[in-house]
């Protein structure tokens, strides 16, 4: 029950995202990255004449690190598609009128949502076999594939919650109107409810994708050769020079920032566009 008053106790809460940082555009990332790398390497340029400057070393390794980063993106996209496909089914299971179905879907969702990503990744890494044989045909399970499976588990649970939340957020009048027009439950869901949900699901779904992309570095802990692993190897190949640490890790931070920040901005814009004004 809401009251109309001139002096409300509290205003409605609106979760707003941060305003754009200095109104940065995507292309600003390039000069900032250069500035950052040059600044960090200049700071150390004074010492070590015979050694290469940190910037030069970083430039040597940058193509390899970029390749590793692209591998990260491949992992994130595959885990997202897999997690979304299974999670959407699980989410539909959660809103099913069948008690056993909705109960079991709810338990699965809660279990995978409450477990830390890293633990789930370990779970997939150590408990999946390295190959499965179907009809005498051995299908190998490489590390990166297990990492995709491990990362798609929490994605699945989160997508399931997004689907459930979106369906629950629709006014019940939609269901009732469809029922009065003699739509079956399946028709209502596919023709009336879900098309309206897509709009509501898109921003949180993109948010989740951004979180997943940032979680792909976890795969380095379990030994997948992605950007973090390659950074560690590059650093040890350079003889563990301490002045290289800041530029290298800073470079990885920047790579992720350059990828995730535009997604975050785009999500905010979508949220504003799809906002329901009531």
């Amino acid at each position: 029950m809401t009251y109309k008053t001139d002096l409300p106790v509290m205003m409605p809460v609106t979760q707003r995202k941060a305003e754009p940082f200095l109104r940065l555009k995507l292309w600003h990332g390039v000069p900032i990255a250069l500035l950052f790398i040059i600044a960090t390497s200049l700071a150390f340029a004074a010492e070590g004449d015979e050694k290469q400057s940190p910037l030069a070393v970083l430039m040597n390794w940058a193509p390899l690190l970029l390749q590793g980063f692209i591998f990260n993106l491949v992992i994130s996209v595959s885990a997202m598609s897999l997690g979304t496909a299974v999670g959407a089914l699980l989410g539909l299971g959660q809103i099913s009128p069948n008690r056993a179905m909705s109960g079991s879907s709810w338990i699965i969702t809660q279990f995978f949502r409450n477990a830390p990503w890293l633990v789930l990744l370990f779970f997939a890494m150590f408990l999946l076999p390295f190959e499965v044989s179907i009809f005498g045909l051995a299908i190998p399970f490489p590390d990166w594939f297990k990492a995709i499976l491990g990362l798609s588990l929490p994605v699945m649970a989160n997508v399931s919650e997004i689907v459930r939340g979106a369906v629950k957020s629709l006014p019940s009048g939609q269901w009732e109107a469809a029922e009065s027009l003699a739509y079956t439950r399946r028709q209502t869901l596919w023709l009336i409810i879900l098309p309206q949900c897509v709009k509501r699901m898109l921003p949180p779904w993109m948010n989740l994708y951004s979180i997943l992309t940032m979680a792909t570095v976890l795969a380095s802990i379990v030994g997948v050769s992605e950007v973090m692993t390659l950074t560690g190897r590059a650093l040890s190949a350079e003889g563990g020079r301490p002045e290289l640490l800041a530029p290298f890790y800073g470079f990885v931070l920047l790579l992720f920032f350059a990828y995730c920040y535009p997604i975050a901005r785009f999500t905010v814009r979508l949220e504003k566009k799809f906002a329901v004004i009531n």
Binding site: R16, A18, F21, F111, A115, V119, F123, Y249, A264
Partner: protein, 247 residues
């Protein structure tokens, strides 16, 4: 109690389900220490991230453009980069730049250990989210309330501390709890810099006993229970702090 523990040794001998953290006192202590470390790390990060959130939200309402820009930059940087890379950056890159101090045995040791760096890094990570959360709450406090406080002669800091924040705190509690639950799950990252928390100790035990399956399942259940207890407690707190007739 000893009988209970011995039962698991029998279980192992009979069925092969190996749970050494129950029947072996050494592994039991390790696991328990790991559990305590996880909780302690969570509490420290919880405390500091809320402090960062409160201070950041206050700074974000400052009238200086550059203060707001710096806070925004901090938020965007920490929200859009992987927490693990942040942790590595803090621990390896900044940790090596800091001066070393002499320890009790006359040797050189880093200024901050891995636990301290994990606490710092994760607090900043969760703090970036908390700033946004607190700000949304502060914006929900009506202007007339603030004006009334101004009319009563409250200073800016007093208004924030005594009027805005207590009101805002109640409405942001759901969002805040969500973030804090995420923080507890993120403490597993401290494994990467060898903080002896639950995942790390479990790893040690499965390396010694080669019982990955049992330890993994136990670990999943343990985190599930830990987060479940936290969510339950937070929900109760939310209900008791609810503003009547609002929301």
């Amino acid at each position: 109690m000893e009988f209970f523990f011995e039962w698991f040794r029998v279980l192992y001998q009979e069925t092969g389900i190996n749970l050494p953290f129950l029947y072996d006192s050494y592994d039991r202590n390790r696991m328990f220490d790991g559990f305590l470390t996880t909780i302690w790390l969570s509490l420290v990060c919880l405390f500091f991230s809320v402090i960062i959130g409160v201070i950041g939200a206050w700074l974000q309402a400052s009238s200086f453009t550059w203060t707001r820009r710096i806070v925004n930059g901090y938020i965007q940087l920490f929200r859009n980069t992987p927490p693990l890379v942040q942790l590595y950056f803090f621990y390896f890159a900044i940790g090596t730049l800091l001066p070393r101090v002499e320890n009790d045995w006359g040797g050189q040791s880093p200024l901050f250990g891995s636990f301290a760096w994990a606490a710092i890094s994760l607090s900043f990570f969760a703090g970036a989210f908390n700033v946004e959360i607190f700000r949304s709450g502060i914006e929900a406090v009506p202007k007339s309330t603030v004006e009334a406080a101004e009319a009563l002669g409250f200073s800016k800091l007093q208004i924030y501390k005594d009027i805005t924040l207590p009101l805002a705190f109640r409405v942001v509690l759901p969002a805040l709890n969500n973030n804090l639950v995420n923080l507890v799950k993120t403490t597993t990252l401290a494994y990467a810099i060898a903080v002896p928390e639950m995942l790390y100790e479990a790893n040690q035990i499965w390396s010694d006993n080669v019982n990955v399956t049992e330890m993994m399942i136990f670990l999943l259940l343990a985190y599930f229970a830990l987060v479940g207890v936290l969510v339950g407690g937070m929900n109760r707190w939310e209900r008791s702090m609810k503003i009547p007739g609002y929301g």
